[in-house]
Symmetry: C2
C-alpha cells in the first residue's frame, strides 16, 4: 500500500552539481502522479525505473523553464512509445499554448489526448480525484502564477479479519459491504456487528508540494498536519533579501512553516546552484524543525507510515 | 591546433540504452560550434566539460524535437550565467518562432541577443565564416525541412622557420607578411624568397554533418574528400523499407555514400532505440566502408590529422 515520493530533480534554475531541474513522482498504491517536469525528466525516469505508462495526470506548478522544459520531450516519447491513454495536465494558464506551439513547429501530432485543466493560482480548491487520492491546489506566490498541490489519500476501507470470512462463510458482496463498514446478516440469520470482524482502516496519508514560492506563513492552516511537506529551500537565510526579491524561500523559512503547520516531515529542494554542499541548508532547517530531510535525485521519501487509526 | 568533434547525443528520437538525443560540438582551434541540441544537451556539456561560453554559433539541422528540445534550456541557462555575447543560430525556418513562444510563456527575457539565420534547405551555400572556418549548408531530405552542415577550415598560413626570424632580424609586420606567403626585403636590401624561409601551411580540415536524411547518393559530389563525415545510421539495412518510409538511412547506405564520396572516415549515429547493441550497425557499415566508427556519447573524433601538404 504504497505512498511514496521519488525525487527526479532537486535543483533550481541551473542544472549543476549533479542536480537537475524540478520533477517528482508520487506513487499512491501504484498510481503515479508526476509533479513538475524540468528538462531531462524522461531520462531520470529511465534511470530510476519510473513506469511512465502508469502516469495519467501531470501537475505543473508554474511555467518557468526549470519546471516545464522537459514536458514536451516526455509527451513526445510517450507518443513514440505508442501511448493511447488520455493524459490530464493541471497547471496555471498557458500550458496548452506553450506545448501546442512546440508541437506545431516540431510537427508532432500526438495519438493520444491531452486534457488541460487551468488552475486558479489564487485559490485552494479540489482539482482532481480518482479512486485513491484527492488533489487540491495550494495558492503560492512567485514571480509568475504558481500553484502548489496537496495530495490527500482518500478514506480507506476497513480491514476485514481473514478468519471472519471462513467462519461466517461470507460472499464477495458481503465482504465488500463489511469493508465499507456495514453489518452483515449471515446464513443462520445472525447479524454480525461490523466492529467485531474488522479493524479500523489504515490512516489516509497526505503530501503537499510547495514550489516555487516566497515564504507564506498563512499556508500553515492549509498544510495543517500534512504527513510530508515538500517546500522549496532555494537559499540559506543569510540570503533572505535575495529570497524576498526573487520570491523564493530560505531553508529557515520552510522549516518555520513546517513547524507552525505541524507537518510530519519537511522535504527540502530547489537548491540554488551556488550550494555545492547542501548540509548547511539541512542544518539551518533542522535548527527550527528537526524532522527535515534533503531531497536528492533518486531518493524516495515517505513520512506517512501505514499506521492504524487507533 | 585542434579540429575535434565531441558527441553529446547519439540516439534517434527516444532516449534509451544510455544514449541521448542528437547534439555535437565541433572544436576548431578552441572555437566551439554546437550542432543540434536535443533535450539534456546542457547536462551533457557539463558532463564532458564543454566550455559553453566559447560557443557563439549554433547550427540546428531541423526542428524535430530530438534535435532541438534542449535549446531553450541551454539558452536560458546561458542567460542565468550572465551571458552578454550575441548567439547566432542557423536553422530551417521556424526556430525563432519556436523559441520565442517558449520564452514568452516562461517569461524569459534574455540579456543577450539571438541572431537568427534561416537556412534554405534546398541549397548548398555559405552560411557563415569567421577567422577559422567556413560553414556551408548541405541540402538533405527528411519528413520536414532539414539541412546538413559542412565545416571547412580556412586556408591556413605558411609556417615560418623560427631560425629565419633571428637570422634576418624580421619585424612583426615582416613575419606576418611572410606567413601570408610574401617575400621580404631585409635590412641589407636583400630580397628573401618566401619558400626559402617557410614551410607549407598545415592542410585545412573538413567535417560534414548529415542528419536527419534519407539516402541521397548525389551528395557524394558535395562531400567529396571530406575528412570526417557524420551521417545518420538510424537502421540496419534489413529495415531499408522503414528507412525509406521515415526518410532515414541505413548503416549500409551511409557507408556507400562515404565510399562514393571518398571521405576519410564515416562517423555513425542517430541510432534507433531498438538497437541495444550497436556492433551489427558497425559491421554492416564496415562491410562497405572499412573506416567507419560508431559515434558514442563523450567520444571525441577527428580523422583530420594535421599533415603538411607536401
Amino acid at each position: 500500500m504504497r505512498f511514496e515520493l521519488t525525487i527526479l530533480g532537486s535543483n533550481s534554475a541551473i542544472p549543476a552539481n549533479h542536480r537537475f531541474p524540478s520533477a517528482q513522482v508520487l506513487n499512491v498504491m501504484d498510481r503515479l502522479y508526476l509533479i513538475d517536469c524540468g528538462e531531462g525528466t524522461q531520462m531520470r525516469m529511465t534511470e530510476y525505473q519510473v513506469r511512465r505508462n502508469r502516469i495519467h495526470q501531470i501537475f505543473i506548478s508554474h511555467l518557468h523553464g526549470d519546471h516545464v522544459y522537459g514536458l514536451v520531450g516526455l509527451l513526445t516519447t510517450m507518443n513514440l512509445n505508442g501511448r493511447k491513454e488520455k493524459m490530464q495536465l493541471f497547471s496555471p494558464a498557458g500550458l496548452r499554448e506553450f506545448l501546442e506551439s512546440q508541437f506545431f513547429y516540431s510537427q508532432v501530432v500526438l495519438a493520444y489526448e491531452l486534457e488541460f485543466h487551468v488552475v486558479d493560482d489564487q485559490r485552494h480548491q479540489l482539482l482532481f480525484e480518482d479512486g485513491v487520492v484527492e488533489v487540491y491546489s495550494i495558492p503560492l506566490e512567485h514571480r509568475i502564477p504558481s500553484t502548489g498541490f496537496l495530495f490527500r489519500e482518500k478514506q480507506r476501507q476497513r480491514n476485514i479479519q481473514p478468519t471472519a470470512i471462513t467462519e461466517y462463510g461470507l460472499s464477495i458482496p458481503q465482504i465488500e459491504a463489511v469493508k465499507r463498514g456495514e453489518a452483515v446478516t449471515v446464513a443462520d440469520g445472525r447479524i454480525i456487528a461490523n466492529a467485531s470482524i474488522t479493524l479500523p482502516p489504515y490512516r489516509s496519508r497526505s503530501y503537499a508540494y510547495c514550489s516555487d514560492t516566497c515564504y507564506l506563513p498563512q499556508l500553515q492552516h492549509l498544510l495543517r498536519g500534512v504527513d510530508l511537506l515538500y517546500h522549496e529551500t532555494t537559499f540559506l537565510h543569510d540570503m533572505v533579501d535575495q529570497a524576498v526579491k526573487t520570491k523564493h524561500s530560505t531553508a529557515l523559512q520552510a522549516a518555520t512553516l513546517a513547524r507552525d503547520a505541524g507537518v510530519g516531515q519537511l522535504l527540502m529542494g530547489h537548491y540554488s546552484s551556488r550550494y555545492k554542499e547542501l548540509s548547511p541548508l539541512l542544518e539551518e532547517a533542522r535548527s527550527d524543525f528537526p524532522n527535515s530531510v534533503l531531497g536528492r535525485e533518486g531518493g524516495q521519501y515517505s513520512d506517512a507510515p501505514e499506521r492504524e487509526a487507533l
